[in-house]
């Protein structure tokens, strides 16, 4: 059921978020915040042989922020790091069936959380 400016897909991910939670001893963690909206998004990754084998999230935010986090975890699972880095915020928004203009930044937040998580992973790997 679409609600106001939100598509069916956004509402589905909002009501039934996929991969919500934490990964203990995650290989990568990315946390970003957006002062415009007050959202905070935290992404956890389990990486094996350069491949994302598990992804989970926790998000404090609006419907669009929760849906963007949820769908991002679905999109990156099973992908290699390089493949995951190619996922743009437009792709996230598109996969959600579109986001209202005022909420586009929520998909940007998801892309940023992913990039920061992978940076975190590369740093850990470099120092380890």
């Amino acid at each position: 059921m679409p609600q106001g400016p939100y598509s069916d897909i956004v509402m589905d991910h909002f009501m039934n978020p996929r991969n919500m939670g934490e990964i203990e001893n995650a290989d990568a963690v990315g946390e970003v915040g957006n002062p415009a909206c007050g959202d905070v998004m935290k992404l956890y990754l389990k990486i094996e042989d350069g491949k994302i084998v598990d992804a989970k999230f926790k998000t404090f935010g609006c419907g669009a922020a929760i849906a963007s986090s949820s769908i991002t975890t679905e999109m990156i699972k099973g992908k290699t790091i390089d493949e995951a880095l190619k996922i743009s915020n437009e792709a996230v928004a598109q996969a959600l069936g579109g986001l209202p203009p005022a909420k586009q930044h929520c998909s940007v937040l998801a892309e940023e959380a992913l990039k920061i998580a992978i940076e975190d992973y590369n740093k850990k790997k470099g120092s380890g």
Binding site: G4, G38, F57, K58, A65, P101, A102
Partner: protein, 403 residues
Amino acid sequence: MKRIYFDHASTTPVDRIVLKSMEPYFIEHFGNPSSVLIEEGAVPHRAVDEAREEIALLVGASKDEIIFTSSATESNNLAVKGLALANRDRGRRILFSDIEHYSIINQADFLRGIGFEVDFVKVDINGMLDMEDLKRKLTKDTILVSLMHANLEIGTIEPIKEIAFFLKEKDVLFHSDGAGTCGTIPVNVKDLNVDTMIISPHQFYGPKGVAALYIKKGIRLTPIMQGGYQEMGYRAGTENVPAIVGFGKAARMAMEEMDKRAEKLTLLSKRLWEGLASSIDYIHFTGHPEKRLPGHVSFWIEFVEGESLLLWLNLNNIASSSGSACSSNVLARDETGLKASHVLTAIGVSPEICHGSITFSLGKDNTMEEVEHVLSVMPGIVKRLRDMSPLYEKFKKEQTGGR
């Protein structure tokens, strides 16, 4: 499942009796009330006149002090711009409270553009006007102060009688936005001693697309709309007769049922307030604890974002509103429209925290069963959202770590 409507501060449904009173004025008595010399115009003219009488009675004014407009927003614009323009020879400074409606605060830039100086007066943590700040900012050049009678987001009722008394001594004009109070609690413009006040019927089971402005006799006010000679010259444009008739009926019903409605609303909101306070931790109620609108419960919840809470309540068939930035302007062209509520910011709630704010505003047809139902679903929704909040996770870890 039946919807539970707890958003009467946004608007109320038109009462069926009100609707019925309006019906004859669409087709049967369609005439232009300005065409008083022909039968078709005389009937609606009389109907408008009778409605004016009812609204005057509702607020203790005389009939020729009530002007019909198209909305509360238009009434606020007519009052502030009209008073400013008519009295610009006396001074150029205008004061608004920090918690005025958008139809007041968003006039500031326009007024500055035509040579006025606009400043804002603070409120305290309960949303009550800060008298000391008013005294500080009230200069000899000040001609007008605008302070709402009650705030629909946090429910606080302002001490406008005391403020009017103070302003009269200083010979400063006083406009008050009565959208939250007129038709809900007793209002007497003579006793309150305001110079202008707006009345908005869609807040008390009347139609949208119509409102009124009380203009005290003898007050100079310049019309802002140029056209024909309607509404004693203060507001050009053919009157919205069916809506005005409905407005009059809603005012009559409000006068007759006010005590009964308020008594019921107070009972319901007391239970809602107490139930929320006892079942949800880290909840903070906003607005004045006692001096508030009947049936109005507003709060914010830590670690819970307001739009998500509002959406989940909606999915549970409960209608509410939120002052969170995220839900503020979902339909805006871009994210610059997303701002935390200026009302919550003014009472000292930081923008990050405003995100968890919700207003429940009850109405005459709500029941205790509905209140109990809302109380039964709220803790589950809050838990669900906290479980997915990294802020709550961090808070919990810090708590256990501290032990």
